[in-house]
Structure formats: C-alpha cells, structure tokens
Amino acid sequence: MSERLTPIEKPGGLMLRIAFWYSKRTFGKVITPLKKIYSRMPIAFGTWSGKISSLENKLPIPLELRILLRIHVAQLNGCHFCIDMGQAHAMQRFKDQEKFFTVSDFEVSPLFSDKERVALRFATEMTLHKRVGDDTYNSCRGHYSDEQMLAIAWMVTSEHVYNLMNLTFEVESDGLCQLQSNKSLAINN
C-alpha cells in the first residue's frame, strides 16, 4: 500500500526549520505528523498549536492525569503514534512510569486512585459513545470541580484531533519511547 501524504524532509521556511529543530531536540527525531501534516501549513498549524499548548498549561488538573487521559483515549481510538507520543512524554516527565504503560488495567490496577478511575471512565464514555451518561458524569463531578470537569473533557476532545488526523493519514508509531529509553541509557552510562 502506498504512503498517504509524502513526508517533507527538507523544511523550507524559517517557521518549519525551527519546528524541525525543536522536534529533534525534544524527541530525538522529526516526528512524522510534522513532516506529513503540519509542514503543509506551518504558520497556521504553528500558531494553533502554540495557542493550544498555552491553554493546556492553564488547565487545573495535574500533568499526570492529562497524560493518562491522552494515552487512554489514543488506545481506545487505536492511534499508535499518539500512544507512543503520550508514553514518551510521560518518560520525560516522570520517574515512576509503570502507570503510563498499564492504562488499560486502570479499572483493577492498584496503581490508579479512585479519582483517576472516574476521570478515565468519563473519557471512555466520551470516546466510545460521544456522550456521557448521568451516572458517570455525577461520579466524576463528586471528585472534580466544574473547571476540572471542563479540563478533563477538553483533554479528551483535543486528543481526538491528533488521533483522527494521524489515523486518517496512516501515521504509524515513531518509536519515541525507544528513543527515550536509549537516551536515558546513554545518560546513565
């Protein structure tokens, strides 16, 4: 099967050159969605992603939960690139990483708190049914403020953007976790 969208290997404009350099520095390689998707409208996508990340940094829920939600939604949607990206992000930011690699166990695993479980259930319903039943909503509301509920719903929603774009253009995993563990090996030795 032929590749959907030819990757742009040599960035033209300044914006794209900066984005390629930044991706290499952060992840150890230029990530495929950047080469295939964002490189085609670099300024528009660049501005958009700047705004989105400033919004997400203001969300009143912990980074750990934000990444857990990302990985969980990407798993439900089957986006291998996004699962790998979420787990690589977790590897950069957290010492204790087992949780991020066992999200599918969240219902029964002792690593997850009840508070995390209700948020992940909320994310499951949003993802699989596109609406959330009263029981799930209310049990989540019992643990989180209105602003936090919004934050959870936003994380699930924005993850869908990445999942759908990458699934549509058949962007596969970039093996970022592998690069990340090579990097930590190099540092430790």
């Binding site: 798993q75 690699f101 599918s104 219902e107 029964v108 499951t124 699989l128």
Partner: protein, 147 residues
C-alpha cells in the same frame, strides 16, 4: 511446517473482499484494545499461530499491558478484564465455537447489558472476520518468521 497453496495469489478477488472486511473493521466504534483482545482470543481457540503473532504484536503497539495478554486464555477467571470486556470475550468464545451451543441466551443477555444493538452487531462482525483469517491461515499453513 511448509506453507501450502497461497490463497492470496490464487484468489486475489477473495483477498480483496477480505481487505474490504478489514476496512469495515477499522470503521466500527468498538475500542481498538477490545478488537485486539477479540482477535487474540479467537486465534487462541482456533490455534492460529500466525494470527496470534500478528495480533499480540499489534495489541502491544496499541498499549495493551503484558499482564492482560498473558491472562487472556483464562479471561473468565481473571480480574484484569472489565465486565464489558468479559461479556465481549464470552460472545467471542461462543461464536467461535458456534457448533457447540450457538450463542447462548445468557451470554447474549449479558452482552446486551454492556453493548447496544449496533455494538453487538459490530462485535459479531469482528469475531467473524478474525475467524475467517484464522481459517485461511490454519488451513494453508501460513507461518510467521521466528524473530
């Protein structure tokens, strides 16, 4: 074991139809992880090493935990699967072994508690698709590289 005939080369039209089934499968609203659990489970029952190789690799890529992949052959005894997943796996077992007792009323009712009619239809479609691949691979001795 030696590979027998290649259905793919002999009957490309049939393979096209099977790939069409694959496209349909990608479009259903069943969670990606559960699709893989169904494929692994049916492949265990049918003894399809080729399909087990493909789908255990895919399940891992899809973020599935090792524990759950190991526990799948004893899913009904395992605490690692949710009630909804267990309901889907029970349907998988019975539809795969359809000549035994069909799809029993109890299993069907339990599935309806967790899945709506569309989703049950989709579950059955996924089970049928993997059973088709299992039968293609087992009957023609398809094998994977021992990597």
């Amino acid at each position: 074991m030696k590979q027998r005939i290649s259905i793919k080369d002999l009957e490309p039209g049939f393979y096209q139809a099977m790939f069409g089934l694959g496209k349909y499968e990608a479009s259903t609203g069943i969670a990606a992880g559960l699709k893989e659990l169904i494929k692994i489970r049916a492949s265990q029952i049918n003894g399809c090493a080729y399909c087990l190789q493909i789908h255990t690799v895919d399940a891992r890529k899809g973020g599935e935990s090792e524990y759950r992949i190991y526990a799948l052959s004893a899913w009904s005894e395992s605490p690692l699967f949710s009630d909804a997943e267990k309901a889907a796996l029970a349907v998988t077992d019975e539809v795969t072994l359809i000549a035994d007792k069909g799809l029993s009323e109890a299993t069907y009712q339990e599935a309806s508690r967790h899945f709506n009619d569309h989703e049950i239809a989709q579950l059955i479609a996924h089970i049928i698709a993997i059973n088709a691949w299992n039968r293609i691979a087992v009957s023609t001795h398809m094998f994977h590289e021992a990597s």
